[in-house]
Symmetry: C3
Subunit: 350 residues, 3 copies
């Protein structure tokens, strides 16, 4: 664990701050959160999934956050909360605030004319801040990041080292951009003429709302003419590709390695599993869940869970089945013919 | 839109420059291109897909580029062109030239001994140009890019911030490399000896032709011994992985998140959909189209379209079907037995 | 080829150093390795796959490494080795040592307080070395890399330009990190509360063993609470995503574009093909091979090869088959009914 020498808080402090019902000694002191397996006497752990209930017996955690259903499942001091995982998230965020360099511009950074960096912002070494850029209060721009001309980044942001934001993009408050992410690169706009591709200038922007997190090496292309839009509260994991003119609705969460092709519109409160793909120009309704590895080829109009996963098997077994899959239409045709012959046989019998 | 204060051009200017038949006022002034939905009085829009013809009624575009088939589909001033999308691409490129810093080397850049940077080139802040590198006229090397020893980059190139080109690679004229792309990293060459992997030095190069565009965070590995080659006019989208010794034929376009394993040879004028994969040592003929999400496991000798996509469905429906898929060979065997029994029944009847 | 003006070695030198049986002139001089197709008189080539035996006739290689089975397959001077590919790997590594800048810290690099850089290490331009970092002997930190506070990197490492290592991560000896790789970014830890996502601080580390190689633009997330661990000798290709708390066992090799979701545990000596995906919280046994493009949805307890690949076909053929796949459960039901009717028909006949 990288965070040590933590300040200590009593369980009483935590319950006063975050609510929940305390069963046990309010003076017990907590320095950090930990998993049930790794927790020690000064650690607060949590049980959110009943599947792991058997781990309660062996844990050495000083205290545990549990749901109502598990309030009597252990004798260890515990905080009973309606949503133990969310409760744990809040306590952990309180105990582990991001460690950001002090405000100020590193002497090696290059700030172009007309850029406005808030006095409470922190600009790292070798960062390049373009003309007319605005950086909000308490925002950190990590070392070696390149912020293009006329970009706006709001307050309280964390831009980790080596992020690139192309010119003109707009980023809200409390946005986290992880290292290697690229915001506003050109969309894949090309037109064919006599066997050669002509580039179509990508003159839209990327507009990112508040409280968005974008993972390492994720790319978000600027719009071709209109903007690419990522609404408030969207969480994108690593190595996701977002094509031009995509819109991702508020509070949607997308796991790693997903590709979203141009002009797709994803609804609000969706969850998309890792390595899924969504083709271009589709619309996905609100509250849709897409399974990992699933390719979406048509618009989805209704909330619900959708899947397209080839079931894995030992290689030989896969081979036997896949041979049939290659000729599945023939198999269906054979069944159709059998049904006819059977009907004939049955008729002739009577 | 990020590009404002555009110069104005009359429709007459545009037709004089790019051809096509003008129907309407040649003095009408245009400042920018826009979609049919977003266009205003000084915007030129286009209709290339007849599917969107219904949008003509509501558009407020000042003028529209249309194909021959739609010449009478609107009363708005219009340019009739054989290939309206390509025409639009040319007009947009004319109205929106890339905005590149003035020629010169930024005072923070590090240029190693023996590097030759053309006087008209522009080298950004914190760029590192290795020994013996040659950078051609009017090429921009964005901030923080690292160009390895002995690399050659031609004229008119756009190397966006934070690109890495490993030593010895050769890049043609008018090549665009987007941020985060890595050219010439080691291929995945390893040899197994008693359960451990030995690294095989990757001593080939990457050789990129003219008019190639490479998307954000795309990686192109150097050859193991011979070179990895990307021919003229190839367009690669974001987050594509090109393995060692791959050859991609001229004017092939590849969408985002595609993986191409080592020593595959892709033909000319191919189109590969997003998140497709091509296994190693395969050959793909010219003019092949591969659908998004398709894994190619064998060489393709004939032009045409190829697909391998598991059809997505509501999760429960998928579950019902996938259970059968796991035992597909058994289903085929049942049908085979039924056919025999049916033949027996039919024989006995006669 | 980028490596020229090589030193020359005799075949006798090589056999004295690496073993094997020499058939031919021990004074023959070799400067480089090459493929059978490209090799010239001073090149050493190799034949490891019997499939390529026919290429022996046309090669102009000065000498060839062959296995026991091919010792008489050519008259060219040859080294007979038990494992010709591993032998070739060793000779090539000997002829092509990595070219690393001289020891020392580039004047533009920023080294924070308390960082310890070994005297034999080399720190490139615009590198940023955080507080309390330790960099071992003969390790190269390429230009523009950002090494977070309290990171440890062992001896003999190659960190190519523009790598980011987040705070607190631990990296062993002889580790290679290619450009654009990001080590220790936050895992995708979020908790839902009333439709909004709360971020869970990621307070674990990434711990990487010895002799690990990590490809360009690959990302390895830090643990949520415990660590993400990559054991000795693991080889990761480009654009792989490793989620938080994953453990990858020693000497496992993973090809490009693979995604491994959080808390998955991969065994030792596994091989995972390109663009495969492994869901979270799964366990994969030692010596498992996973085919390219395969999505693993359940734990794998036994060594062996596993596959889930939809067979590709010309688009129309795929269309015919996929229509049936959408209704596969109905097809199975039809067969079940046919079997009943057939049994009825057979019974009534007797």
């Amino acid at each position: 664990m990288t965070r040590t020498n933590q300040k200590m808080y009593t369980l009483g402090d935590l319950v006063a701050r975050f609510g929940g019902e305390l069963i046990g000694d309010p003076e017990l002191r907590i320095s950090q959160v930990a998993t049930l397996e790794q927790a020690a006497a000064h650690h607060l752990s949590f049980l959110s999934n009943p599947r792991y209930r058997s781990k309660l017996a062996a844990t050495r955690a000083g205290a545990i956050i549990v749901g109502q259903g598990a309030r009597e499942a252990t004798a260890i001091p515990r905080i009973v909360a309606d949503n133990p995982y969310a409760y744990f998230a809040k306590v952990s965020a309180f105990l582990n605030p991001p460690s950001i360099p002090a405000p100020g511009v590193h002497p090696t950074a290059v700030i172009e004319d007309g850029a406005e960096v808030a006095p409470g912002a922190s600009i790292g070494p070798f960062a390049h801040i373009g003309k007319g850029v605005r950086i909000g209060e308490r925002t950190w721009i990590g070392g070696g990041s390149d912020i293009g001309d006329e970009v706006t980044i709001g307050a309280g942001g964390l831009v980790y080292p080596r992020v690139v934001v192309y010119r003109g993009c707009v980023i809200g408050d409390r946005v986290i951009l992880h290292s290697g992410s690229v915001i506003g690169s050109d969309g894949f706009g090309i037109a064919l003429e006599e066997g050669r591709w002509l580039k179509i200038p990508q003159i839209g922007r990327v507009v990112i709302g508040n409280d968005v997190e974008i993972g390492a090496n994720t790319t978000v292309d600027r719009g071709a003419m209109d903007d690419t839009v990522i609404e408030d509260g969207v969480k994108l994991d690593n190595q996701i590709q977002v094509g031009h003119n995509v819109r991702i609705g508020a509070h949607t969460a997308i796991a790693g390695c997903v590709g979203i092709a141009g002009s797709a519109r994803i609804g609000r409160h969706c969850r998309i599993g890792g390595a899924a793909s969504i083709l271009g120009h589709l619309e996905i309704a609100d509250h849709v869940e897409i399974s990992a590895g699933t390719l979406i080829t048509k618009s989805i109009r209704a909330a619900g869970a959708y899947t397209a996963v080839y079931p894995f098997a030992p290689h030989r077994e896969w081979l036997r089945n896949s041979v049939v899959l290659r000729h599945l239409a023939e198999l269906a045709e054979k069944v159709r013919r059998l049904e006819k012959r059977m009907a004939g046989a049955e008729r002739s019998k009577t």
